[in-house]
Point group: C2
Chain length 260, copies 2
């Protein structure tokens, strides 16, 4: 019985392949890096075909690597299985990312597949609580606590995996557009400088389907937004390239730490 990685963009599919052999499902329209593993080409519209291909290869363990973007579906291309699933998917799409991902997981599970999370394969990619680069000062701790309180309040509404506070004020709250877009907004519109990005999963988020992640790119974008610190949740946020992330923190003077 084998494993398949549903590959999104970025470094995560390669990092998961390092945990053991797997096929790589490449969805049309999703840019994913070349990897030394057998490919399974697929389309969102042809889920019936994907189920059959995975069964033919005896690939029962699935890992979604990188959050699925919301694809533009071509209704004329839907196979019968996908068409039958559309009412469930469309309804879930109106209820937030978590609802959609939970529905996708349920659909694959109902087909007999097992969903693994990135952290099941690579628990070493998460951080223990404590400093990673430098350590937060009192003002950074206070900003992190303010951003955490906002994320805690929004979590039950399936909104917000990240937020930015500076000098006690909220200057960015993640919406559908994602963390990078929020950081560009913060950099372009904020008064002053300093402040802390907090990134953590929403309470109740299905970490198998969407594991929050940071990497050197996040550190550079936070620095460009004028921030001085990043707090991630211990044990549940992936650091995609720890050496390069720490080097980016050193280069930009960014403090990075994990909190329970």
């Amino acid at each position: 019985m084998g494993r398949a990685i549903i590959a999104g963009a970025g470094a995560l599919p390669g990092l998961l392949l390092a945990a053991g052999p797997a096929h790589v499902v490449r969805l049309e329209g999703v840019a994913s890096a070349p990897l030394d593993a057998p490919d399974i080409p697929a389309r969102f519209e042809h889920l019936g075909r994907l189920f059959a291909d995975l069964r033919a290869g005896d690939l029962r363990d699935l890992v979604f690597a990188g959050a699925l973007s919301r694809p533009a579906l071509d209704p004329g291309q839907l196979d019968a299985e996908t068409a039958a699933l559309m009412p469930r998917l469309v309804q879930a799409m109106g209820q937030g990312d978590d609802a959609l991902l939970r529905e996708i997981a349920a659909i694959f599970e109902a087909q007999g597949f097992r969903i693994l999370g990135a952290l099941d394969l690579r628990p070493d990619l998460a951080a223990d609580a404590g400093p990673i680069c430098g350590a937060p000062d009192a003002a950074q701790e206070a900003d992190a606590a303010r951003a955490r309180a906002v994320l805690d309040a929004l979590g039950p509404l399936d909104v917000g995996q990240a937020a930015v506070a500076a000098k006690g004020q909220m200057i960015g709250i993640e919406t559908l557009q994602g963390t990078d877009t929020m950081l560009r907004f913060v950099g372009a519109t904020r008064p002053g400088s300093g402040g802390v990005l907090v990134k953590r999963p929403k309470p109740g988020q299905d970490l198998r389907m969407d594991t929050p992640a940071i990497g050197p790119d996040t550190v550079m974008k936070a620095a460009e937004a004028g921030l001085s610190g990043i707090e991630i949740a211990a044990g549940t946020v992936l650091i995609l390239d720890r050496a390069a992330t720490e080097a980016a923190c050193d280069a930009s003077g960014m403090a990075l730490w994990a909190a329970p």
Copy 2:
């Protein structure tokens, strides 16, 4: 016993002057429109002087017209009264807009002044519950309910007087930068089009010091952000120029309504 309007930018000082004679306090560095009323020049750093000027004119009723921006203070210019108040002001500044405005109100009240709100003078500027331009359809009602739920969750944290939902997804949550900046972000980063801006005071917000307001400019910015509807809170959000606001809604096909 007379009245003074602490003038911010925009149309509100003029609208409040229409409610009865008043002096107009013009703070250095705050752009305010010329009005047919006696001016009192003032500086944030010279609160002692402002208290004395107001008392000399027997002006005991104060109206803050337009939210105070967070000014850059020149510490070398502080008079003795202002210097003595700085610890309270600095502490409040770290706790959100509401905390700062409550502190400013308390400072003026402790000096014997009475703070009136824009709605005390011009209750006619708020809207009764119901349609103002067009009426929301079911999808717009659902988006408004989603944005309201987010604002309700954030209100106790003194964050968010406005939020935008489209197709059930949050695509904008107001932070320190304000509603207009959020609308620009939404327009520049959102997928698709449609969606609803909800604007309402935070629970517990001191409406005397900061009354949420919309106007024709808000409608145009919402239209530029691709939105199809605006919901304001009945009775507590000012419509600054109702005729021009309705004309802007008609011109852009924007629905506008007030909800309890």
